[in-house]
């Protein structure tokens, strides 16, 4: 395939992460490309959360390599990840209900004008632009509090917040888990637009319909190992589910063999 000749935006090679005796990640290879949506699927405990937390800098990897645009990098904290252009939208969204849309989008990175005052006009303008670029049209006013928004609108705000920072890679953790049908569609459209705008997107999801609707590629994790990678248009849901539940492991947990020795 063509994109394999190009450099991946983010590439993990043989990444290990242990928590005491538990091998949460056991030699995982993973990559995501600019302009593509990579779905990360797997059963509970497969290591999806650990993997994205390693990329986000919340966990530090024990072994293996992380490459960003082909260059080896080490991510030791959320700040390192943010500097590279990696933003994560967690399932709980981390929005403050009592603040409005603009205030949430700039929380912790407020713009200042003279005399160290908040530059509300500039922040509001940029927030409107980002929401417009993402075609988020359902939010009537960027000055309404997040408490008054629907679940899908909140998700849109959280995604827009991530995009605001010229990020290159956006990781979405179960973005549709708490949403109804119409709002799920809103969010999936938004995910697609992120990729069309030239961002790399990682979508963590349990929902096969969502995955097949928006993902270009699918990486399947099982018991801390990646057991399969599919191109969405060349596979079907049955194949993916099979890999999730019975994908072939290169080492069996509990046995002390070193897979990548």
């Amino acid at each position: 395939m063509a994109e394999q000749n190009e450099q991946h935006l983010l590439e993990l090679r043989g990444v290990h992460k242990r928590f005491g005796a538990v091998n949460a990640l056991n030699g995982v290879d993973f990559h995501v490309d600019v302009g593509h949506v990579m779905a990360l699927v797997g059963d509970n405990g497969a290591g999806k959360s650990t993997l994205i937390k390693c990329v986000a800098g919340i966990h530090t990897i024990d072994d293996g390599e992380v490459l960003w645009a082909g260059e080896p990098v080490s991510i030791h904290g959320p700040k390192d990840a943010a500097r590279l252009g990696i933003e994560v939208v967690y399932q709980d969204l981390a929005l403050a209900d009592n603040l409005d849309v603009v205030q949430n989008m700039y929380l912790g990175r407020e713009l200042l004008s003279t005399l160290r005052r908040l530059d509300e006009a500039r922040m509001e303008k940029r927030s409107r632009e980002v929401l417009k670029e993402l075609s988020v049209t359902t939010i009537q006013s960027v000055r309404q509090t997040v408490a008054s928004l629907s679940g899908g609108q909140r998700q849109s705000v959280a995604v827009a917040k991530a995009v605001l920072w010229n990020s290159k890679l956006v990781i979405l953790d179960e973005p549709t888990a708490a949403l109804g049908v119409a709002q799920t569609q809103q969010v999936l459209d938004l995910v697609r637009r992120l990729a069309e705008q030239g961002l790399a997107v990682v979508l963590v999801s349990h929902n096969m319909n969502d995955v097949f609707e928006v993902a270009d590629h699918i990486t399947v994790l099982r018991l801390g190992q990646n057991v399969a990678e599919f191109t969405t248009k060349d596979t079907n849901q049955r194949e993916v589910v099979e890999a999730i539940t019975a994908g072939q492991l290169h080492s069996v947990p509990g046995m002390q063999e070193e897979a990548l020795a």
Binding site: L107, G108, L118, R122, S148
Partner: protein, 385 residues
């Protein structure tokens, strides 16, 4: 019209609601005693509310965090006592004594805030311990005499000095001009950024209302003894802290921590630092309030900052719409709440009802305010879904 009612019901117009309540209280007392709305009595009313309002400014900051500070009454008494004892017994000049009193407040608040933020003891418990301890410390500082009378004009003037008519008008014109300038420049900045702006008429109406209230107040003050220094001090603090909470990063982060501390932490906000800073500031402001109260009483005694000081200082902002659950409210609620409570106290004294009536009425108003707060936030949630 129905739109106005809906916004009232949803709590958007919290300030208007409180002003309506104040108007009702004033109409009731005026109907029952024609002395209530005289210049002398209204001036007394503002002097009575200044100390409590100052303590409430700090309380609002703590409430915005979603925390509570039960020690503000005791700290206000202790700070007043420190100032009085240093000034009277140790011969310190007024200014350094006052600064020492405020510094004692800030240190106490910083310590309580650190115990809450770093060790994780609930603020309710830390400040409850403070309430007891600082009352004890007040007795220690006052020593055997129990009462210290203040005569130094540097302290007495704070609550007993009045400005001349001319200065009153100059202050009023300055306040209105500054308000108009800030409104117009904000409108201009939004216009420059191609954002929707309020119509010039709406801005003019707002400025006109503020001007009307300001000039009416000066007319009333000048019909009596003049603009009181205590009012200038209190409103100065309120305007400064209102700007800090609404226009600075630090203020924004207080709201964020009060609304969702975990989101604030993930946004890179140093939550502990915000909490400790707010508690330190709240206690320092309680100290300022205590100094105003001491100045008005011309003395500090063993009951300074005791009895219902704490409860009224917290009840005021809540009556005026600041939420007990964090993240919602404004510095102005400190003043408006103090005016509601002060009006009830003043009016009931005028009608020479017993103080049991005062407590019952204030309690009922507080309960009504909290119920309205609960109902409006419920309604807001319902509308939001």
């Amino acid at each position: 019209m129905t739109k106005v009612f809906r916004r009232l019901a949803e709590g958007d117009l919290g300030v208007v609601r409180v002003i309506l309540v104040i108007a009702l209280i004033w109409i009731y007392f005026q109907a029952n005693n024609s002395h209530f709305l005289t210049a002398v009595n209204l001036t007394n009313l503002t002097l009575q509310t200044a100390g409590l309002g100052m303590i409430s400014v700090g309380v609002v900051l703590v409430l915005l965090l979603g925390e509570i500070d039960l020690s503000v009454g005791a700290v206000s008494g202790l700070a007043g006592a420190v100032v009085a004892v240093l000034n009277v017994k140790h011969g310190w000049a007024a200014a350094p004594a006052i600064l020492a009193g405020i510094a004692v407040g800030a240190a106490i608040g910083g310590a309580q805030g650190a115990i809450f933020a770093k060790i994780g003891v609930p603020s309710f418990v830390v400040t409850l311990a403070g309430l007891l301890a600082w009352q004890g410390m007040l007795l220690v500082v006052l020593g055997k005499t129990g009462t210290v009378n203040i005569t130094d004009p540097g302290i007495v003037d704070l609550a007993n000095k009045f400005f001349s008519h001319a200065i009153g008008w100059i202050v009023a014109v300055g306040v209105v001009a500054a308000y108009a300038a800030s409104n117009l420049s904000r409108r201009r900045r939004r216009q420059a950024a191609n954002l929707p702006v309020p119509s010039l008429v709406a801005v003019a109406v707002r400025i006109g209302l503020v001007a009307a209230v300001t000039f009416a107040a000066i007319l009333v003050f000048n019909a009596d003894r003049g603009l009181p220094l205590a009012v200038v001090i209190l409103l100065g603090f309120v305007i400064v802290f209102d700007a800090i909470t609404l226009r600075t990063v630090w203020g924004r982060h207080i709201f964020a921590v009060g609304g969702n501390a975990e989101a604030a932490r993930r946004a890179g906000i140093k939550v502990d630092r915000i909490r400790i800073g707010v508690f330190a500031l709240a206690s320092a402001l309680a100290g300022c309030g205590g100094i105003l109260l001491a100045s008005r009483l011309l003395a500090v005694n063993q009951s300074s900052g005791g009895s219902d000081t704490l409860l009224l200082a917290i009840a005021g902002p809540v009556i005026a719409g600041t939420s007990l659950f964090g993240g919602r409210g404004s510095i102005w609620s400190a003043v408006l709440g103090a005016v509601v409570i002060g009006s009830i106290t003043n009016g009931i004294d005028l009608l020479s009802y017993p103080s049991s009536t005062r407590l019952l009425v204030t309690g009922a108003v507080l309960l009504a305010a909290v119920i309205i707060d609960a109902l409006t936030s419920k309604r807001r949630r319902a509308v939001g879904r």
